[in-house]
């Protein structure tokens, strides 16, 4: 179990693994430099490249699946430090093991589905902006390709520094794609917010990388994992390791939108829906989870949960619960899904925190499929209804049968209805938490979150797909409409990056867009007049991928059915993704499984009871039932406000102090220095006569002084024989 896992060289299909990230990157270059004016060509290039990547990934996956090979890697020197430097040579490399092979396949496959979907979808968005043409489509696919490249590179990264590069690259792509409609004020703000908020986490991440890498004299994952299989490495204290792990986890908190840095993800829904599906549901936000899984031995040295792991678990639990509660009160379909994503990521984190390596990874994969399915479905719904607002939907089941079916499957998977994918993976996490020592409190929290999940999913489904179509009528004033932004007390500047008003309002849109052409105003789709006609089913390019993803949402769970259930299926997933250090496969417990089924059904039943008949009435009843906490939830636990007040306030006070220091200390010093330099300059300027002969005179003076000086210091300098000989014979 603890034997040296020798890293083999890349061989077989894995030898081609470098193609996987390279192809999207080439696509990015081609799109950026060659096919920019032709959007459809760009889309074709992007999709073709990704198809190639998918092919190679599938081969790699198949190779890993059929052979029981050790992790394979290849590396080239990147930064060569001094020969005797303890860190030696820092390398760039590719690491292929079961986890990365699976992630590759998932990223490529989901990415491909989303890109195919996007070909149709992005045109509907472009249609809203007459100034945007084919080049926008190219821009979209170029950035999507760049993102795919970055994500695949992240997955294949061989060491911490390399992963950090790609980590930042996906962050950049996320920023670019959230702010894809950069002339929309809200989109630009949301992109900025995502970028800035994740930066907090990345700061910790970088520090953690440096702590760990410098202390252990190496950055590569395999080497690090190796050192932790026996417990804390020699020379390090448990506290140091825990601190490093927590700092690294900070990166994951930022990227995976964990409490308390989750605030950027809902705003990120400003990006086009495929972006939300790919980046903010399936791949990038999962990168944090992936990172924790990669560094699992660091969090669980010698297979035992450390302090850091406990933190991870509880952060995950809190996030899961918090996001689930907020999701209950959202009216925007994409926001419901966004909070749901946060919540599910919390589940994964909690699983990894208690040591459920396999379960966490499994949930990551299944979630990627059904959540991207849900996002894409919501995109289809939005296209059909021209609105994000759940209160302007309803009854779509009849109008959009394919979308309805796929979306329903996604909802059921998310709600955890057996035997769909979400059930198996979520249940496995719950089982682990249940079995973990001291995990009962966390188990209860997660179970309640699962109940809430089932409830808000049901609410969303019924509001969107059942009942009458409400798109034509005006939504009830007390139910729909954006939440008014929080007005800050006077001394606080409306810091745009930390703005607490994520809800995009009409005033904001119009006030910030007056410089745009009239046709571009009201960029939000809810403002596009849509007439009275009923919503229509979207094009097959959109519902096709939905059905494919739905297939996976339904059946993927069977890859990881616990052996104890007795379905007679082998647990493929656990056989494939397991940690060499993961000791005993956990025992199967019926209690949590049954409980989770009960909870899910209860949530669905409650939701259906409230919203099946008259949604407005159900909503009012819900609000009255929750009236004590409703504003609290509506304001998202006041966390955004807290950020704005605490952080912005602190920063403002700090800024005032700094301003005082700047004005009174720094400026005086600097200006004093500048003034003295200026007066010196003024004095010297009188020598700068502009007359070339004066300069020549100065030159001669300097020459004479130099000669006299040298002559005084070394009297024989000019007359020494050697000087002359050197002078004369130097050139021979």
């Amino acid at each position: 179990m603890h034997e040296q896992v020798a890293a083999a060289a890349l061989e077989g299909a894995a030898a081609n693994v470098w193609l996987v990230p390279l192809l999207p990157f080439l696509a990015f270059l081609i799109i950026s430099f060659l096919t920019r004016p032709w959007g459809r060509v760009s889309a074709a290039v992007s999709i073709l490249a990704l198809t190639g990547s998918l092919g190679v990934s599938a081969q790699v996956f198949w190779q890993r699946f059929t052979q029981d090979a050790p992790p394979m890697q290849v590396a080239v020197p990147w930064i060569t430090l001094a020969p005797d430097h303890p860190l030696g040579t820092i390398e760039l490399g590719l690491l292929v093991d079961n986890l990365s092979a699976m992630m590759l396949l998932m990223v490529c496959f989901v990415g491909l589905c989303i890109q195919i979907y996007s070909t149709a979808y992005i045109q509907t968005e472009i249609a809203h902006f007459p100034t945007q043409g084919s080049a926008s489509m190219s821009r979209f696919f170029g950035w999507m390709s760049l993102f795919t490249f970055s994500m695949l590179g992240l997955v294949l990264s061989h060491n911490l520094l390399e992963i950090y590069i790609f980590w930042e690259l996906v962050g950049l792509c996320s920023y670019l794609l959230i702010g894809f409609w950069y002339f929309k004020h809200s989109a630009a703000e949301a992109g900025k917010k995502a970028f800035v908020v994740t930066r907090f986490g990345d700061l910790g991440f970088l520090m953690g990388i440096l702590m760990l890498g410098v202390a252990l004299k190496g950055f590569d994952f395999l080497g690090l994992s190796q050192k932790f299989t026996q417990g804390i490495p020699e020379g390090l204290t448990a506290g140091f390791v825990a601190l490093a792990a927590v700092l690294i986890f900070c990166g994951a908190i930022g990227k995976s939108a964990q409490f308390p840095l989750h605030v950027w993800l809902p705003d990120a829904m400003e990006g086009p829906t495929p972006v939300s599906a790919l980046i903010h549901a399936a791949t990038m936000v999962a990168a944090g989870v992936y990172l924790v899984a990669r560094l699992f031995p660091v969090f669980h040295p010698a297979g035992h949960a450390g302090e850091a792991a406990l933190l991870v678990a509880w952060i995950g639990g809190i996030t899961a619960f918090l996001a689930a509660t907020i999701a209950v009160v959202q009216n925007d379909i994409k926001r419901v899904l966004a909070y749901s994503t946060i919540s599910q990521l919390g589940f994964m984190m909690a699983g990894l925190g208690v040591g459920a390596y396999t379960a966490g990874s499994f949930h990551l994969i299944t979630h990627a499929f059904f959540k991207s399915l849900l996002f894409l479905g919501s995109g289809a719904v939005i296209v059909a209804c021209h609105s994000n607002d759940l209160w302007r939907m309803g009854g779509l089941r009849r109008h959009m049968p394919f979308t309805w079916f796929a979306f329903l499957m996604g909802c059921l998977a998310l709600a955890g209805v057996p035997p769909l994918a979400g059930f198996w993976s979520k249940d496995e996490i719950l089982g682990y938490v249940y079995a973990a020592p001291g995990g009962m409190a966390l188990f209860l929290v997660l179970t309640f979150s699962a109940f809430l999940t089932a409830f808000y999913v049901t609410r969303m489904y019924f509001l969107a797909f059942e009942g009458p179509y409400r798109g034509a009528e005006k939504a009830p004033a007390d139910l729909a409409g954006p939440v008014p932004p929080l007005s800050l007390p006077a001394p606080f500047p409306t810091s745009q990056a930390l703005d607490v008003a994520p809800e995009w309002t009409e005033e904001m849109a119009t006030s910030s867009q007056e410089d745009l052409p009239a046709a571009c105003r009201g960029a939000g789709m809810e403002h596009v007049p849509h007439g009275l006609h009923a919503p229509k089913e979207v094009s097959p390019w959109m519902w096709g991928p939905l059905l494919v993803l739905a297939l996976f949402a339904v059946f993927l769970g069977f890859a990881g059915v616990p052996t104890g259930v007795g379905l007679g299926l082998p647990n493929f997933f656990e056989g494939f993704i397991h940690l060499s250090g993961e000791g005993h496969p956990h025992e199967f417990h019926w209690t949590p499984m049954l409980l989770s089924v009960v909870v899910a059904l209860a949530g669905i039943a409650l939701g259906a009871g409230l919203f099946a008949g008259n949604p407005e009435r159900g909503e009012r009843r819900l609000r009255s039932g929750l009236r004590l906490v409703w504003p609290f939830l509506q304001q998202k636990w006041y966390l955004d406000h807290l950020w704005a007040r605490a952080l912005a306030g602190t920063m403002y006070a700090g800024a005032l102090t700094m301003a005082w220091i700047e004005a009174n200390l720094v400026d005086r010093a600097v200006f004093g220095l500048a003034g003295s330099v200026r007066s010196w300059g003024d004095w010297l300027r009188s020598e700068h006569t502009g007359k070339v002969q004066h300069y020549a005179l100065m030159l001669l003076l300097a020459l004479v002084l130099l000669a006299v000086g040298i002559g005084m210091v070394e009297p024989g300098f000019f007359t020494s024989r050697q000087f002359v000989i050197n002078l004369l014979e130097g050139g021979r």
Binding site: R685, K691, Q693, G731
Partner: protein
């Protein structure tokens, strides 16, 4: 008369060089400065040739040929500049050409 040696030529070169320097430093007229520059070139050449002759090595003469060529180039450009200055300022007094004054 005492025999003439290398030092005689070197001393003459030094005198010629200093006279040229004096001219460069003092003459107001740009062309006069160019003339004085030629004196300095000649001083250098004189030294080179004297060395070449007294320490038998033809390289000094070769170098002198190069110096003459470079002097020709210098004078060409110099005169062109002077004419350009004249066209712009209507005079070539260097102490009035002080547009670069700080």
């Amino acid at each position: 008369m005492s025999p003439i040696g290398l030092n005689h030529f070197l001393a003459l070169g030094a005198v010629l060089f200093c006279l040229g320097t004096y001219g460069v430093l003092t003459r107001r007229n740009a062309i006069a400065v160019l003339l004085s520059l030629e004196l300095m070139f000649n001083a250098v050449n004189l030294n080179l040739v004297a060395f070449a002759r007294f320490m038998p090595n033809l390289d000094g003469v070769v170098l002198a040929v190069f110096v003459i060529a470079v002097a020709a180039a210098e004078a060409t450009v110099g005169v062109a500049l002077v004419l350009s200055i004249y066209r712009n300022f209507r005079h070539i007094d260097l102490d009035q050409v002080d547009t670069m004054k700080g």
